[in-house]
């Protein structure tokens, strides 16, 4: 409703010039926002409006956006669109739903798709393209932006059968281990630089186990997606033990899921997560990994029952209110080390922009979202942090927190070999089904690795 109010007002004052429009809108936003939250000052970021001249006069038009991003993260998303809205007079009607991944195919089938959808994983893009033929190829301006600001790998994730459809939007870095800097400092522990260091540190901590305290805590419960945090563990291990080439063959099924190299990776994880001396800090035994909620599984770090928790950068926003995330705060994260210090394989994930209509305002908005302008506007509009992008036009100084800067540095580091979350790239029958349930079984009933990987291999369509 608020969005529409803006539209009406905007038309009336369009002649008053961009600057005053921004002022009035800013005032509107302030009075309407109520609780405020972490959005709102994107007006501070200025973009070059001439980039959108080629799309003609867009004033008064509306673009419908459908996404999984709901409050509170949606506030900074919407704030990041303001520079574009101010430039062009386009209104972005934002609809966030947690059920978006299920609803989008329904709407597409019923002939009622949104203009633009933010897809949380490439697998959904693949489904929409191959099964419903619904997504339109990206316009040339978007492709030019992506060629300029994103690496080949990222572009490939938005490509299906040689056609480029979807520009990447935000990025997540998954290869992080959360810890308490003060606990480490008090005990005199160093941040491990190699996998062997990590194992040595784990063993050292385990010697001093008291009560429920363990070196690691983990939890994979996530409603109907239970199991996914464990797939990230395995993917990180494959990247480290077998390398990116094998990783690519693995998710494309050039090698079977029960290949010995994959079993090696399972063993790497097995050594930590299925060792009762190492897990599950403050939460119970090995089997409690299957039932602990992933959103809370790192909390024992705050009570001192757990030392390390491997989770993605977006776990930064999961900590309870009042937890300080920073090198000197309550919790911080280090890069999950590789076998040696001269390689830096990193597991990443991200969102993609798919368009279902090709009106000029939709293409203009797509172009904006794929630009470095958007990435910087989003960084400025997220004062509380918890967001980063692999867009190389992103100025890391615009990122709000030390932790986001760390994520940004890892993404921008030329030594980083980034690979997308494999379960998002595998066919749905594996990536969002048997891989999840297999991992859950692995923890819950102590199933043998061989049996689990054989079962997942069998389910590959």
């Amino acid at each position: 409703m608020r969005i529409q109010k803006f539209g009406g007002r905007r038309r009336a004052i369009a002649l008053a010039g961009v600057a005053s429009t921004a002022l009035v809108l800013g005032a509107c936003a302030d009075t309407n926002d109520g609780s405020g939250g972490d959005g709102g000052n994107a007006e501070a970021f200025e973009i070059d409006c001439s980039a959108y001249d080629e799309f003609g006069d867009l004033d008064g038009t509306t673009v419908n956006l459908y996404t999984t991003i709901v409050e509170p993260e949606s506030e900074s998303q919407q704030a990041s669109y303001k520079p574009f809205e101010d430039c062009t007079g386009v209104t972005v009607a934002y609809e966030g739903s947690r059920e978006m991944e299920a609803q989008l195919p329904v709407r597409v089938q019923a002939g009622n798709p949104p203009d633009i959808a933010i897809l949380p994983q490439p697998g959904l893009l693949n489904t929409l393209v191959t099964e419903y033929d619904a997504v339109l190829p990206a316009p040339s301006q978007v492709e030019a932006n992506v060629d300029e600001f994103w690496s080949e790998d990222w572009k490939a994730y938005g490509t299906v059968d040689g056609t480029f459809y979807a520009a990447p939007l935000g990025s997540n870095v998954k290869s992080f281990v959360w810890y308490s800097p003060s606990m480490f400092a008090d005990a005199g522990y160093e941040i491990p630089q190699t996998w062997d260091d990590l194992l040595a540190l784990t063993a050292t901590i385990a010697e001093g186990n008291e009560g429920a305290a363990r070196p690691w805590c983990a939890g994979v419960e996530s409603g109907d997606a239970t199991g996914w945090p464990a797939t990230d563990w395995i993917e990180d291990a494959v990247l480290r033990s077998a390398g990116p080439d094998v990783y690519d063959q693995w998710y494309t099924h050039e090698i079977p899921f029960n290949d010995p190299q994959i079993i090696d990776a399972f063993d790497m994880v097995d050594e930590i997560l299925r060792n009762p001396d190492y897990v599950n800090g403050g939460l119970g035994g090995v089997d409690s990994i299957a039932t602990a909620s992933w959103t809370d599984a790192g909390y024992p770090i705050l009570t001192g029952d757990c030392w390390m928790h491997r989770a993605a950068n977006f776990y930064a926003t999961q900590w309870p209110e009042g937890t300080e995330v920073g090198p000197d705060g309550d919790v911080y994260a280090f890069y999950l080390p590789a076998l040696s210090t001269d390689e830096k394989p990193t597991l990443v994930a991200g969102e993609f922009i798919a368009a279902f209509t090709d009106r000029p305002e939709v293409q203009a908005f797509q172009t904006y979202l794929s630009s470095s302008d958007w990435a910087n506007a989003k960084a400025v509009a997220t004062p509380n942090g918890g967001w980063v992008s692999a867009n190389n036009g992103l100025d890391l100084d615009n990122l709000a927190s030390d932790f986001d800067k760390l994520s940004g540095e890892i993404l921008a580091d030329p030594a980083t070999i980034a690979r997308f979350d494999g379960s998002d790239l595998m066919p749905a029958a594996v990536g969002t089904d048997s891989f999840w349930s297999g991992m859950t079984e692995w923890f819950a009933s102590g199933e043998s690795t061989q049996k689990v990987v054989d079962g997942i291999e069998k389910s590959w369509p």
Binding site: P72, R98, D296
Partner: protein
Amino acid sequence: MTSAAPTTESVRPTSGLGNRARKARKALSNPWASTLAVVIAVIWTVPTVGLLVTSFRPELDIRTSGWWTVFGSALQGEGVFSLQNYETALFGSSTNMIDFFVNSFVVTLPAVFIPITIALLAAYGFAWIDFKGRDVLFIAVFALQIVPIQITLVPLLSAYVSLGINGTFWTIWLSHSIFALPLAIFLLHNFMKEVPRSLVEAARVDGAGHVKIFFTVMMPLLTPAIAAFGIFQFLWVWNDLLVALVMGDLRTFPLTVRIAELAGSRGGDWHVLSAGAFISMVVPVIVFLALQRYFVRGMLAGAVKG
């Protein structure tokens, strides 16, 4: 219910009802039955009580310990309750909760009114007007209850899109009406059948037509039945998420959609859901308490006859 007298003949419904009431009273006043009923009631209420207690606990407590621990902590004089969850659920968003409340009413009231109106007319037709193929048609309507609503979602939505009414409240009202009608017609038909034939015949002898009979004979007798089905449908529509989500859009989303989003993009804020659930529950609870005697009576009477 199983002990109710088999009143196959609709000629003597009054004695049947009296007989049934007597048996029911006898069965229900049995002390063992009463104890069992209380035990079942307690067991069924525990989760709700737990949810209520949870909704008043601070976030970290919810995540780290069970709701039953509050009683111990409260005895030790610790502050274990907070209104934070309600504050977050009600005001922790840029969109006002009131908008969704209003939408819920706008969605629910017509979605109750429309099917009841149509079903009353249809039920009267099936019960008291003789026409060719009546039984076949009635069985067909009854059988429609078998169709799961999930398989109708995509076809219905495409139909709405091609009609151009998509994005309005009509899609939701129509969908709920469509899904409600088979059961509504069946239940109200059974009520109408229970009205003594002699009453209707007397009215007819006095010169009343179908319209007159419907309004002056049937309607007063059917008030409990209408109220019963009204509550039933009200609760169903008020609590519905599926239809609202699939058929609706930003302007029509009711409270349930907002509650579902409370957990946050990655489900990390699930502790707010308990408060959201109770906010959403307030209206149905009021409606149910106000009309519950009709609910029980209506359900029993309608269900016994086939």
